[in-house]
């Protein structure tokens, strides 16, 4: 009986250890680029106080264009085969819409109260992923000859950096249909795309996840970032904390004023002291606690956006 318990304990420990030793997996989603949507007429226009704003109409593109579905489906299939299934944008849009309808109709059985949603919550309701795979292709025609110019860009949703790419023009053909040329383009470019993505992940495992950290203050807070504690300004205190807690002290102070600070290229470790995977929110949570404790005693609010962006607003929750 004792051996049985011991074996169970060892198995449980191994499961726990293996679950903690996995870094947080970024989500990826293929999105048709603005250029492609514009060239193919899938744009919506709004009049914003006299100026016309044009934004892509993804829903109509998915409903009307079979080629975009074919390309996305093929990319999704090839990424799933590499153990990295992607979020499907069309499904994400549908889920979002059905959730919105459900939330609007839902009410409490006892009090009849509706689901609470702040304006920020409403804005955050969008199809999103940690890495956006932006897809563009154009069909080049010279007489009867056709070729495909294909471009895949992997963009980090938080740092706005291009982390993977594959681009090129396929062989011209007199007879092949566009879907066939598109299929060939995907097959010939995906290896290079996954290779550059692999390089990005290798860099992440070696040098930490790259995130953005912002520090702001509520306008009713009586202090600011130039307030001194033991003769040291708060901006430098925060910078020192960043230097002590980032991987190899890597970060850039992009902006610093009395009311805000912006840190870019902040490299955070993938795991904390307990071996648990961490993201921007978990990392900045430690800074939040540091500022909340003595001698600073600054109450603050922590706001996150996905795996790679977190903001601390000083003054109150």
């Amino acid at each position: 009986m004792k051996i049985h318990n011991l074996v169970t304990l060892i198995i449980c420990s191994l499961i726990c250890f293996s679950s903690f030793s996995q870094a947080k997996k970024p989500t990826l989603m293929v999105v048709p680029s603005d250029v492609w949507c514009n060239q193919n007429g899938y744009m919506m226009e709004f009049d914003n106080q006299g100026s016309t704003i044009r934004i892509p109409d993804y829903k109509r593109a998915f409903q009307e264009n079979a080629e975009v579905l074919q390309v996305i489906s093929q990319i999704n299939g090839m990424m799933a085969e590499r153990g990295f299934p992607l979020k499907n944008m069309e499904s994400a849009i549908k889920t979002m819409e059905s959730n919105a309808v459900e939330d609007a109709l839902r009410s409490s059985k006892d009090s009849g109260a509706a689901v609470d949603e702040s304006p920020i919550d409403a804005i955050k309701k969008a199809a999103k992923a940690d890495i956006i795979i932006q897809l563009t292709w154009t069909v080049n025609k010279t007489g009867p000859k056709k070729s495909i110019n294909f471009n895949l860009q992997g963009l980090d949703a938080y740092t706005d950096k291009q982390v993977a790419t594959a681009t090129g023009t396929g062989a011209p053909s007199f007879s092949a249909e566009t879907p066939v040329l598109l299929s060939e383009a995907v097959i010939s470019h995906m290896d290079n795309f996954t290779l550059s993505l692999q390089n990005h992940f290798d860099d992440m495992f070696e040098n930490g996840r790259e995130i953005i950290v912002r520090i702001q203050k509520w306008d009713d807070w009586d202090g600011d970032l130039e307030t001194e504690y033991d003769g040291e300004e708060l901006t430098y205190i925060i910078e020192d904390w960043m230097a002590d807690n980032t991987v190899k002290g890597r970060f850039s102070t992009t902006d610093a004023t009395e009311s805000m600070m912006l840190f870019e290229q902040v490299r955070i470790p993938l795991y904390n002291d307990k071996g648990r995977a961490i993201d921007a929110r978990r990392f900045v949570r430690e800074l939040s606690k540091y500022l909340n404790d003595a001698p600073f005693s600054i109450p603050n609010k922590l706001v996150m956006k996905g795996l790679g962006r977190a903001t601390i607003i000083l003054g109150s929750k």
Binding site: R82, D191, N192, L195
Partner: protein, 173 residues
């Protein structure tokens, strides 16, 4: 007496043939030992594989042909190729670190042995026939032979991942 001579002659011829075959095999292995070959893309293959032309060098054209498949698989694993015509894009080698060949010598020696596992990942794309322009005599004693083969790159990559020689895209997550 005559019967004895006949039997001895048959045994002698059999021995010589066997020795000759072994010598040819060793010769072919020597030719490919240094992995001297060129790899080029021959077009877009079906999903999960690469259509390549591999140019092998040998004093005997037969050896160059027989070693082509081995060279092609080796090239996909360790060399890759530049892009080119027919819509080909550059292909980076599956193993980016050349030192891995030495590090996993035991595996690769057995993998690339005659009749080894490499044969599962390559097939001839032209039923073994060689285009006239792909059989070149580059010096008095040396031939350069090009054969077109299909290499199952996705399956090859999975094998290398399972052997721990390369990392998979989702490793660590």
């Amino acid at each position: 007496m005559k019967l004895k001579h006949v039997i001895l002659s048959v045994l002698f011829i059999g021995f010589c043939t066997s020795v000759n075959a072994q010598w040819k095999k060793n010769k072919a292995n020597e030719d490919t030992k240094i992995w001297r070959y060129d790899l080029e893309c021959e077009g877009i293959a079906k999903q999960g594989s690469k259509l390549v032309k591999v140019w092998s060098y040998s004093k005997n054209p037969k050896h160059a042909i027989s070693r082509g498949m081995k060279n092609a698989v080796h090239g996909i694993i360790f060399k890759g190729y530049a892009g080119g015509g027919q819509g080909c894009t550059p292909f980076a080698a599956l193993v980016s670190d050349p030192a891995m060949e030495e590090k996993h010598k035991e595996f690769f020696d057995s993998f690339f042995a005659d009749g080894g596992a490499y044969l599962r990942y390559v097939s001839s794309a032209t039923d073994g026939s060689i285009a006239p322009g792909d059989r070149l005599k580059i010096s008095k004693r040396e031939y350069k032979i090009g054969i077109v083969v299909n290499v199952l790159t996705d399956q090859l990559r999975k094998l290398l991942e399972s052997e721990g020689i390369i990392k998979s895209l989702n490793s660590g997550f």
